[in-house]
Amino acid sequence: MANRISRKKTIFLVRLMVIITTAYFIIFSSVNREVEIYGYIFIVFYLLTNLIVAYIPEKYFHDDKIFYGFVLFDSILLPAGIYFSGYVGSDLYLMFFFIISLTTMSARFEYLMLNTIFFSIIYCWLLYEKGVLTGPQSGSYLIQIPFIMVIALFYGYLITTRLRDKDIRINEVRQRYEQIVQATDVLMCIVDYDGKFLFANQKFVKFHGCRDEENLYSLTISQFYHEDENEAEKSLNYVRSVYQNNDMVQYESLDKSHDIWFANTLSPIRDESNRNVIAVCIISKDITDRIEKENKLNHTVELLIKTRDQLIQQDKMAALGRMASGIAHEIRNPLEIIYMGVDYLENNIPDNNAQVLEAIEKIFNAVHRADTIIKNILSFSRQSECKITQIPICQLLDKTLSLAQQTIQKGRVTVKCEYDDKSLEVAGDYNMLEQVLLNLVNNAVDAMKESSPKVLMVRVYRKLITEIGYKTGYRYTDFFKIGDDMIIVEVSDTGKGMPKDVQSKIFEPFFTTKPSNEGTGLGLSIVHMIMERLNGTIDVESRENQGTTFFIKLQPTIKVFDAKEA
């Protein structure tokens, strides 16, 4: 199609040939010198009209009516020229073929026949005017008219059959494309710069619930996302970017109203002559299955990584446990000998020397302390079963407080409880949680030895996670995911508080601020470790001489541990 000679060019060339031929007749065949001047004027005029043709835009020649106007104009002009030249005969008959040739280009059988009849009448009239029809050769001239008709019919037949074949072929190709477009499983549409629909396949029309295609063509692409302005703007921006970059764009989107994922391909449809984008073809493929599979896979990978990390952690703990129990055994044997030896000495002091007895008491205390440390190390490293269940946290707190009642009363501490909802539950190991809470309560009581007032405050509440923090965020390693809930247990005292440098160390093993015979420095590190095992966290806030608050953040449901159990 691209190398087809344009109609305008053809008309221009054919007319030029007609003009040249006519000029030849007028100049060389004229018998009447008087008319010659008109002949020249006619040729110039004819050339001028052709010059005008050269300046008329191509598109007007594609309109059949305008085209036919040109042909009609020539049909009148040409006989007129011949008439002026005073030559009417077989040459005029030749000219007729040019006119037929021109007319055939209109590709319309009716116009061709109309033109033929019209021209035949003019021809007859010219012959009559010249008096040829009354002469002796009138028969041979008259016979030309049916010939013209036959030739016109022949041309007409050729045109129509050729056109019909072409039409059939075009129709076949069009149908094939139509079938492909309609049979395909993808949503297909063509939109312009403003997102207005120029075409959509039936799948698209059906999917978006339009009554018919016509109904669709009054809409724009952004109107399909009326619930979601962001999505609407995004889709239109993609269309515009295709216009601007003159290149294909691909993106994935979620149709929220149908809950379907689409892979969209936006390809530019270009103007054949200047390669500018004139429309955008959007092909949307349903990839929900793939996305779901991807999500499942990601989830599985996440679980695998999580499980692997847990296994590594468990392995570490097991190794530590083995080492700790080995050490415990090795140390406890000499401790036992010290106990027994000192017992022996105690029974054999001459005269019950009081100073020696005191010294022996100190040795006993030291051995007892060493044994306590070993016990703590053992419980720190112990691989006891971590049995996760749903625990009513408020009940557990009440039980813990009653367990610590003696300590609390001894310390003259007032206890205040604030439970948001008595029925709140957390996922955790009952014994471990009890150990954690008991530890915190005892610490709080200890911290308030020299302060006044002495208030131990316990709060329990549910909180929606909105901020990223330690083990809190979007990553798979995070215990708490943004948008989920967590249960927070606050244990606060009005004690002496801690300076910042102490706060940063309290969870380290063997760090303690208590006198060496009171604390082993393992309590809070055990608490910290237990919290990690329960997929929870522990934070501390403290101000010197005002008090300290511990925040225990726990999982509300057991689901987080599924990976562990699987």
């Binding site: 027994m340 017992d343 022996y344 054999n348």
Partner: protein
């Protein structure tokens, strides 16, 4: 005068055996025999028929549990109560004392003072005699 309780200590810790023997015998209520390995311990138990056997769980020549099994299999020593005195105990529940058992035997975690050891032995003996 009350008859002395005959106790057999089987433990590879020589110094522990030494002091247990000294302390228990000093109390005047015990006669203490000592063996530093499992095999000799079994022989001594068969030969002397002690009232109670204090046994270590972890010994180089044979584990305490095997010693206990061997003693239980022998009809001469089968009825003698066994008290494991061990540093291996890692379970807090063990600290409860005489009520804890490995199999049919009692267990006491180290370190333990003489007084507690004697109390535990008396408890066990009272229990076994009342069972009879």
């Amino acid at each position: 005068m009350q008859e002395k309780i005959k106790a057999l200590v089987i433990d590879d810790e020589v110094d522990f055996c030494y002091f247990v023997q000294k302390n228990l015998m000093q109390s005047g209520m015990f006669d203490v025999l000592v063996s530093n390995n499992g095999k000799d311990g079994i022989k001594m138990a068969v030969n002397n028929k002690p009232d109670i056997i204090l046994l270590d769980l972890f010994m180089p020549d044979m584990p305490g549990e095997d010693v206990a099994d061997a003693l239980k299999e022998n009809f001469i020593t089968a009825k003698i109560p066994i008290l494991f005195v061990t540093a291996l105990a890692t379970n807090d529940d063990v600290t409860e004392g005489a009520e804890n058992k490995i199999g049919n035997n009692y267990i006491l975690p180290k370190p333990i003072r003489t007084k507690k050891l004697m109390e535990t032995i008396m408890k066990i003996l009272n229990k076994t005699s009342s069972d009879k």
